[in-house]
Structures are given as C-alpha cells and as structure tokens.
C-alpha cells in the first residue's frame, strides 16, 4: 500500500516536473500555459494527498480556473508568436547554472535540516471528522480575521487598478 502511494507520488511528481520543464522550454506561450495548468493540477493532487482538499479545490479554481484563463485570454488578445530564445545563449546557460546551483544548495539544506515532530493538533483523522473546509474557516475567521479583511481590500484595489490600467482612456 505504501509503495503504491510512493509510486503514485513519483508518477505525479514526474508529470509535474516534465510539465514545469515544458513551461520554461516551450516556444509557444500557449503551450507553456497549458503545461503550467498541468503543473497546477499535479500540485492539486499533492494537496489532496496532504489531506488538504480545500486547498486543492481552491488551487484549481483560482489558478487553473481564473488566473490561467486570464493569462491565456490576454495572450490571445495580444496574439504573440513564438519567441526567439537563442539570442543570448550564454545568458541562458548562466541562468541554468545559477538555478542548478541554487537547487543543489536548497536540497543540501533540506537534507541537512532535522524535521521536527508533529506539534499541532490537526491530524488527518481530525480533518476526516471535522472537515477541512470547517478547519480552514475556523482559522480564517478567528486568528486570521484581520489579514483576511485586508486581503479583501487588496483584491478590491487590484480590481480598480486593473480597470484603470487596461482602460483605453481613463
């Protein structure tokens, strides 16, 4: 059973990484976008595996359903063709080197670190009985009420800003 889970994890992780690689390597931005949606899907699956179904649903709703739709929409409006990447070959190589260095470092850091034990009260059983949505809701509307309200204001500001910026004549 556990090996099944692990196999499933590696499968999804592989898909996520391949899709992620497509995001950065596809010449056509639309294909990049589709790949990114795929990556988001994989992440949503991970969230479900991590007993966070609410976050998974939100992930798909917000990222796949809203943000990416918006991005694809804009790409269609602007109708950009495939881009030329090869102009600064050395820069591309440099970027790969830097990112690889960073990745190695982070992984080393993770491996060095000691993982602490579970400290909070919320286990998978609690999530099963109480419900993930309820738990999120309780946290959001008690301890995090102020940030929540501020986030709503942020969204409002963003809406106004987007309308003002994208309008042809203000």
């Amino acid at each position: 059973m556990e090996y099944l889970q692990l196999f499933f994890f590696y499968l999804v992780a592989l898909v996520a990484i391949v899709a992620g690689f497509c995001v950065i390597s596809c010449k056509n931005p639309i294909n990049s976008a589709i790949s990114l949606v795929m990556t988001f899907f994989c992440l949503a699956i991970f969230y479900v595996m991590l007993h966070a179904p609410f976050m998974a649903a939100i992930q798909i709703m917000v990222y796949a359903g809203a943000i990416m739709v918006l991005i694809i929409f804009v790409m269609m409006l602007l109708n950009q063709g495939a881009e030329v990447i090869a102009r600064y070959r050395h820069a591309v190589i440099g970027a790969f080197v830097a990112a690889a260095l960073m990745m190695v470092q982070i992984i080393v850091l993770i491996k060095q670190g000691a993982v602490s034990a579970t400290v909070g009260p919320i286990s998978s059983d609690v999530i099963e009985t109480v419900g993930h949505t309820e738990l999120i809701g309780q946290a959001l509307f008690t301890d995090f009420l102020l940030p929540f309200e501020i986030a709503s204001i942020l969204l409002l500001v963003a809406i106004v800003g987007a309308v003002v910026l994208a309008k042809r004549e203000v």
Partner: protein, 337 residues
C-alpha cells in the same frame, strides 16, 4: 446496522463496487447524451410542427447511433496552420470536466451489498461544490484552446467570447450557490441532499427561489446553450470555435454540450430539488428531475432568440451578479436574525 463499505474492511469488494458504480453512471450519462440529441430534434420538431427524425429504426430511435457512426467514420481533417497539440487536446479538455463532475452527485441513498452499506454516489467530497465550480472553470479551456488552435478568426473570436462569457457567468453561478450552502452549512453535496430531506417543502427551491432562477439562467449561459450560445453562433461566427473540427472531434464537442446539460440539470436537481428524494427509487427520481430540466432547456432553445453580446455581458455583470450578491446578503440577514 451494517458497517459502511470501505477500502480497509473489504478492499476487493470495495474496488469492484466502485468500478461498477463508475461504469453504470458513465453508461447512463452516455446513453442520455445520445438520446438527448434525439429528444432535442424530436421535441423541437414537434414544437415547430414537424416530425423530427423518423426514418432510422422505429420512430427514428436509432438515429443517434447512426449519427455517431457516421461521425466516427468520417475523415479527420486537421488544418495545416493549426497548433496540432492544442487542436487535439481541446475536445478532450472540454469533455473530461463535464464527465468527472458527475462523480460527486449523489443519486440515491444507501444499498446493502455483501453485508456492507454502500452509498449511492461515486464519491462524497468535503468540498463538493468547490469541486464542481473548479471543474466548471476548466471547461473554458477546451473552448478557448479549440478556438485558438484552429488558426481561424471565427474560431478565435468564438473562443475569446466564450472565455469572457464563461468567466463572467461563473461568478454569478458560484455566488448563487453560496446562498444554498449558507443554509445547509456544508459544501458536501451529500450533506446538501440530507439537509433537504424530510419534506418537499424543505427543498431549497422554496427557500431560495431567486438563487434557483439565477443558477438555472447562469448555468445555461455557462454551458453555452441558447439563448446564450454566442461562442458558436452560426449566423455570425460560422459555428465559432468548432468551425474547423470534423469527424470524431466534432462529435466530442457535441457530446460535451449534452453532457454539460446533464451535469447542470443534475446539479440543479441536487442543490434545489432535493436530489434523489421523491416518490420512486432514488436514481429514478433524480433521472426524472434531470429529464425535466433537459426538457426545459430544449424548450427554451425552441422559444427564445439569441441575445446580443453586449446584452449578455450587461446581464451577467450588472443584473445577475448584483442579484446574487443581494440574495447572499438577504440570506445572511435571515440566518442571523
């Protein structure tokens, strides 16, 4: 009281029951899809004082199968300048979300299999409604990609229109649902059905008439049915995003449209009409309600002219959205006081 069947107490039985449920639901949905086309042609024919299909089989009953076969065997044309990957992907991306949405819809109570209780739904998610919304949000990709990949300006316009339309109406649809789960205090569809159990008067159509109307109308817009079928408006866009599609891919678009109708009908029935509750066995009640809504949609198609694009946007943002918000406010006020 028998135990609930789960993966831990009888894995083999659990998996086989699961597969059986999925198969049954899938076949039923596909059958309804097939005969919905037949029904639509017949009903519209009658409404327009025609007969509709009569030739293939008794009363033309084999017509959908004939159509299907014909489309499957046609030559598959992929335009030369198209983006091949997206062109092939698009019909799948439109059909899959429609089908997997059905997974969370409860179609009955519990039955006993091999000494265990088996619930009559494929899965009951804690975040069921969010799941439905998420899948509905994905539906737009298929249309947008189809429009873009065809490399045809009609298709592109159809795709962009569709994206705008679906994003707009998704909001109103989602907001009108919020009132429902404010009352039921759960996002699980099973929970919502349970909350409506007992009496016909418990159905949310009576406590939430405004939400019901809003949801039906906005869903209609979201699945691109008449009178909101602008993305594929034949008269102006030459069938919109599916202009360049042929053969089986075209058939998939059609299937997706009817599958979406079924899903929307099922969701409406579940949210507002008590789901499988009724005088007969659970699945039959649900099917009857679905058929009712399907008939309603076909009836609307036969009756209403297509709205203009600006009217569509006006209604979405300036009528339905405020109404849905108003409904939420009123519901909240009623709950609190």
């Amino acid at each position: 009281m028998p135990e609930m069947l789960s993966l831990s107490n009888d894995p083999i039985l659990f998996l086989s029951v699961m597969v059986a449920k999925i198969l049954v639901v899938f076949i039923v949905v596909v059958l309804i899809v097939a005969y919905a086309t037949y029904a639509e042609r017949k009903i519209i024919g009658r409404m327009q004082t025609r007969l509709g299909p009569t030739m293939t089989g008794p009363l033309g009953l084999l017509q959908p199968i004939a159509d299907g076969l014909k489309l499957f065997f046609k030559e598959d044309i992929i335009p030369a300048q198209s983006s091949k990957f997206a062109f092939i992907l698009a019909p799948m991306m439109i059909l899959v979300p429609a089908f997997i949405t059905v997974a969370v819809i409860p179609f009955g109570d519990f039955i006993t299999v091999g000494g265990y209780l088996v619930p009559l739904h494929i899965t009951d998610l804690n975040v069921g409604i969010l799941y439905i919304l998420a899948m509905a949000g994905l539906g737009v990709y298929g249309i947008v990609l189809a429009g873009w990949a065809s490399n045809n300006k009609y298709s592109l316009i159809g795709g962009i229109r569709s994206a705008a339309q679906m994003v707009s109406y998704e909001l109103a649809a989602g907001l009108s649902m919020i009132a429902v789960f404010m009352l039921s205090e759960t996002l699980s569809l099973r929970g919502i059905v349970d909350a409506q159990a007992g009496s016909v008067l418990n159905w949310y159509i009576f406590s939430q008439p405004l939400a019901f109307c809003l949801f039906v109308i906005t869903s209609l817009a979201e699945i691109n049915r008449t009178p909101f079928d602008l993305p594929e408006a034949e008269t102006e866009l030459v069938s919109g995003f599916c202009t360049e599609y042929s053969s089986m891919k075209y058939a998939l678009f059609f299937m997706a449209e009817y599958a979406n109708m079924i899903v929307v009908s099922a969701i409406t029935a579940t949210l507002f009409l008590g789901g499988p509750a009724g005088p007969f066995a659970g699945p039959i009640n649900l099917l009857l309600k679905i058929f009712f809504f399907m008939f309603l949609f076909i009836w609307i198609r036969a009756t209403f002219p297509r709205v203009r694009y600006d009217q569509l946007m006006f209604m979405g943002w300036k009528v339905f959205l405020p109404l849905a918000l108003l409904n939420i406010v009123i519901t909240g006020a009623v709950i609190v006081f």
